[in-house]
């Protein structure tokens, strides 16, 4: 294609966008609303994922050390623990400290067991790189020397795991669904606008335009619709996310979790939306007009 022709196509696409008036506005706003939904939902689902991981990562393996283990042997044990695949870090907590924790949640009456009466064990708290590895690590740890027992969170944690992972599975499914919906709705809107212009396309054919020649301005017009449609969602998402991030960060942090940092995440999200809008706008346009490009 000559640059002159390309320029003409670009020009034509602008003109057409402008002269289609309300039709263009309606198409652009369909893209806007769809992508706004996509953007907000994606921001939510990815953060939910992040936080649910934070929660899962809260769950550790408690490795109880047999009584009478010397501190050298403990060091040995620690090294062994650290070598288990998927172990991130290992922290030590004496039985005394452990008792204090129990006192905290089960009441003052445990206080009488301080000192040698303390029925608890010294403990290594082992955190894993992947939450799903917790059970495996616990089993492994149990077989090590000097280990009295190795437990992990218990029933509550298991439940939480299950809920989180099923919510996340549904989240992925819904993300894909939403993507499909967005693609469909945007291309469908473009299709309707093209349907209403079939006569125009027919006339272009009748005065000797090749299909390629007709297609280009429509392709560009679809792309403009997508581009214009993506601007508002990007602004709203970027500003809104920043606001939420600033206002939630503290309360999140106090609960031990954190949202995704705006920088890269927003960039990726914006890019995703722009690609959906522009690519689907352009492709939808070209694909919808195919059937009008006969005879």
């Amino acid at each position: 294609m000559k640059t002159r022709t390309l320029k003409r196509h670009l020009n034509d696409s602008f003109k057409s966008l402008k002269r289609n008036g309300w039709m263009s506005v309606a198409a652009v706003s369909a893209v806007t609303v769809t992508l706004l939904l996509v953007g907000i939902f994606f921001a939510m689902i990815f953060n939910f994922n992040k936080i649910s991981q934070d929660i899962e990562n809260d769950v550790h393996v408690r490795v109880m050390i047999e009584r009478g283990t010397t501190s050298k042997q403990k060091d040995q044990l620690q090294k062994k623990l650290e070598k288990i695949a998927a172990v991130k870090d290992v922290t030590y907590s004496s039985r005394k400290k452990e008792l204090n924790k129990v006192v905290g949640s089960y009441g003052q009456s445990f206080k009488m067991f301080t000192g040698d009466d303390n029925p608890l064990y010294d403990v290594y708290t082992v955190s894993t790189t992947k939450p799903s590895q917790t059970i495996k690590v616990a089993k492994h740890a149990k077989q090590l020397k000097y280990v009295y027992d190795a437990t992990y969170g218990g029933n509550n944690a298991k439940k939480l795991f299950k809920v989180m992972s099923s919510v996340r599975k549904w989240g992925i499914g819904f993300t894909l669904l939403l993507l499909f919906v967005a693609v469909f709705l945007i291309s469908n809107t473009i299709r309707i606008t093209i349907l209403s212009r079939r006569d125009e396309i027919g006339i272009m054919r009748l005065v000797g335009a090749t299909n390629a020649y007709i297609r280009w301005p429509f392709l560009f017009e679809g792309a403009w619709v997508g581009l214009l449609g993506v601007i508002i969602p990007i602004i709203i998402i970027d500003v809104g996310y920043g606001w939420v991030y600033r206002h939630m960060a503290l309360s999140m942090a106090s609960a031990g979790y954190s949202m995704l940092k705006p920088g890269i995440f927003l960039f990726q999200l914006d890019l995703t939306m722009a690609v959906i809008g522009i690519v689907i706008g352009a492709l939808g346009s070209v694909i919808s007009m195919r059937r009008f490009l006969r005879i």
């Binding site: 002159r4 009748l206 005065v207 000797g208 090749t210």
Partner: protein
Amino acid sequence: MIRMTNVSKKYPNGVTAIKDLSLTIESGEFAYIVGPSGAGKSTFIKMLYHQLRATSGKIEVAGFDLIGMKDRDVPYLRRKIGVVFQDFKLLPRLTVFENVAYAMEVIEAQPQAIKDRVLEVLELVGLKGEIRRFPNELSGGEQQRVAVARAIVNQPEVLIADEPTGNLDPETSDGIMDILEAINQRGTIVLMATHNKQMVNERTHRVLAIEDGRLVRDEKEGDYGYED
């Protein structure tokens, strides 16, 4: 050259609008197509630039074999043919200038050449003052003249006009006829469907009369031939 051999056209609704029609029009000829309303004139014309596919028979126009023609070759046929459509078929979102220019743009003419030539033909049809208007801001006759301008702008080998003066006063009609005859003088085939008895009788050319889809009369120097 235009050659039709035993051409028939049956519409999907069952109407057979052209029935076993054969004729030849040589280069440089000027022919009227006359006949009552619904006779099949427009159908005949639409087959020549492949807006309609013939149901049977053979059609040859400007060196193209229209039967079994591939869709992608159709634009190149149409670039050799200028058409004035009965319902004008102007692009509603383009101005008068852009509508006429479009026919030149599709053959990727030089911008300056387009500009000069478009203004030239618009002047010829008396619309130089209206180049910035959109079709819906024009009178019926003005739209028809834009259609004429677009048809002639590329100096086509064949010019097909379906009632190019139906919405025009006699004086303007005469102007358009002058233009068509001048183009014909330069060797272009001009084929024109019309109901204008006076014009056919005064500016004598070949007359093809179609009635109920059949060619019922073909005279070299004919007259309109219908009484009222």
